[in-house]
Symmetry: C2
Subunit: 351 residues, 2 copies
């Protein structure tokens, strides 16, 4: 039985669910893969806890569900102890970064945590787009130099293995086009607008359901979709793209009249992230609201569905769609990444 010591920063929706999932899955992980995950450290925005013997995953989840901070974890919780200090102090094998995107602050503290972890020889798994958008190449080079794994399959389209497929299963291909509908809330709001709901009511409803974050601009103005496209383009297409390279438009400019007209034509608006191969060999990147015909591979997505389409020279056109009724699949991507690092499939891929 291999014991994997994990430090988790970020205990919001994803981090907390990850703890619950691993608690429930430990017997299966032991039986199927001979692995045991031990959460030795965890941090939220108010403090941290560290126990080399392992924190109780269910207790961590209960603390967070009760609205408290991990600093309240009895015995080992420390108020005011930050994520960076925890990563510096801990002994572990893997950093799991489930902290929220924070571009205004230079993607901190995630970026420093990731650099610190890699320098200590830890593998790094992040579900946070911030460090990737800010320092994609630097972090990959550091991972290579330190010979540690760096994975982030959950940053692009929830639980859809869009990056894994794009990077691994399309090897040897040339992509002429990459399309994605990687953001749920913009589709949801536009669907409501098309049905006659007002902007205020639609966004209020999305906020009440917890699908629209406090910083609504990140989703509604297309930043989230643009960031995901940057990650896809850099990882799958070999680009060296930044956020400012993406032609970006939010959904507030799409009038109810346009939305209703699209629907009357049997079409549906989605915030489409797109990379298009140009004659000069570069990719044109855009994330703009687009009316999709029902015959488009992503033209009939429901409100809980995201999708990616890869148009390739030798693997045909491949469409992936995920139905993600809750944030569980997004948090499960960290388990996917972790198992991908630790499960040896050098002979065959059979489970």
């Amino acid at each position: 039985m291999q014991n994997v010591r994990v430090v988790l920063i970020g205990l919001g929706n994803l981090g907390r669910r990850f703890c619950e999932m691993v608690a429930a899955k430990q017997p299966l992980l032991a039986e199927r893969y001979g692995l045991r995950l031990t959460l030795v450290g965890a941090a939220d925005s108010r403090g941290a806890a560290y126990d080399p013997g392992g924190l109780d995953l269910r207790k961590v989840s209960e603390i967070k569900l009760g609205g408290a901070t991990i600093a309240d974890y009895s015995g080992v919780g420390q108020p005011g102890w930050g994520a960076v200090a925890l990563v510096r102090a801990a002994e572990a094998d893997v950093l799991l970064d489930a902290s929220p995107v924070n571009l205004s602050d230079g993607a901190e503290p995630a970026l420093t945590c990731i650099r610190t972890a890699m320098n200590k020889g830890w593998h790094v798994i992040t579900s946070n787009k911030g460090p990737l958008v800010m320092a994609f190449r630097e972090l990959h080079e550091l991972a290579r130099e330190k010979n540690v794994a760096f994975r982030y399959d959950g940053t692009v389209a929830g639980g859809l293995p869009a990056l894994n497929v794009g990077c691994r299963d399309l090897r040897g291909a040339q992509l002429s086009r990459l399309e994605a509908v990687p953001n749920l809330v913009t589709g949801y709001v536009m669907d409501m607008l098309a049905e006659g709901t007002s902007w205020q009511d639609a966004t209020a409803k999305a906020r009440a359901e917890g699908v629209l974050e406090a910083d609504a601009s990140w989703d509604l103005d297309g930043w989230d979709a643009a960031a995901k496209l940057v990650i896809l383009a850099n990882a799958v297409l070999g680009c060296d793209a930044k956020l400012e390279d993406v032609e970006r438009a939010g959904i507030s400019g799409v009038t109810p009249a346009k939305l209703a007209a699209a629907r009357a034509r049997g079409e549906q608006y989605r915030l489409l992230a797109c990379a298009d191969l140009q004659d000069d060999g570069t990719y044109k990147l855009s994330a703009v609201p687009t009316s999709l015909a029902s015959s488009h591979p992503l033209g009939r997505l429901g409100r809980k569905q995201m999708g990616v389409v890869y148009t390739t020279d030798i693997y045909g056109t491949i469409t992936f769609i995920i139905d993600e009724p809750n944030p569980v699949p997004s948090s499960a991507t960290m388990l996917r990444d972790l198992l991908d690092i630790y499960v040896d499939d050098s002979t065959s891929l059979v489970i």
Copy 2:
């Protein structure tokens, strides 16, 4: 630059196209992955050729397009030399098996070729369902014992990475249901029948277009779909299934009246391969013509499309669809498997 020596058995649609593809892709493979593929040996049903210095990939393709045999390859071709003898005699790193399914003959010569190659320490990539249906566990155990890779991503749904995703990206999950439309010609024929074409005309048209093989029963009676389901179930679900474990029905029993009625309801028949988790923890396997509502993830497949749906506990419901206008994606799966063996992604997956 790493040189990979390959022996290819089977030079039909897939094998020949693989040669053409690799010839065209050599510069990209060298630049992107530091790899060079050398075809040292090849066999078809009439003979074989072996040249440790490498056969000319374009010349092999031309010979086959001209209707001749690889035995005619000048200098090194040998009429009557069989695939097994070639594999025994050759020095190589990888066996590529693109030979046709031949269950009536115990999946030979592919099965013996694969065993021989593994025993010689070669990696094995097969696009042939036969050896997998006949000897799934045995071949996996042999690969593990010999520490060689055994891959077969192209056996299930053309160019769709259904097995790779199922085995790798769903690690840690429990699947409650696996559905696939893995066979093109049955959908094509049923669509024609629904439009009023007679059985004879529909099958004749499919045969004329080269999508229906000489042994029409393999496709039309559901054997192909059942074999693909057996491979999926064994690889992704950990079953130990055989062909006879699949409840199977061909498409000849679906009357034109049924097909037309389904169409009138907005539905569409496809030969659906399905694995359903039972209360006792086993999977019920079936491959039967099924009328799919347009809301079903595979309910609107075109005649050149195949798809797979994984319903999971922690990764949501994931649907993959491939648009495969010709056999190129199916033959490209052998390149995908080969690159997966040789490209080192121990740190990150970026291309």
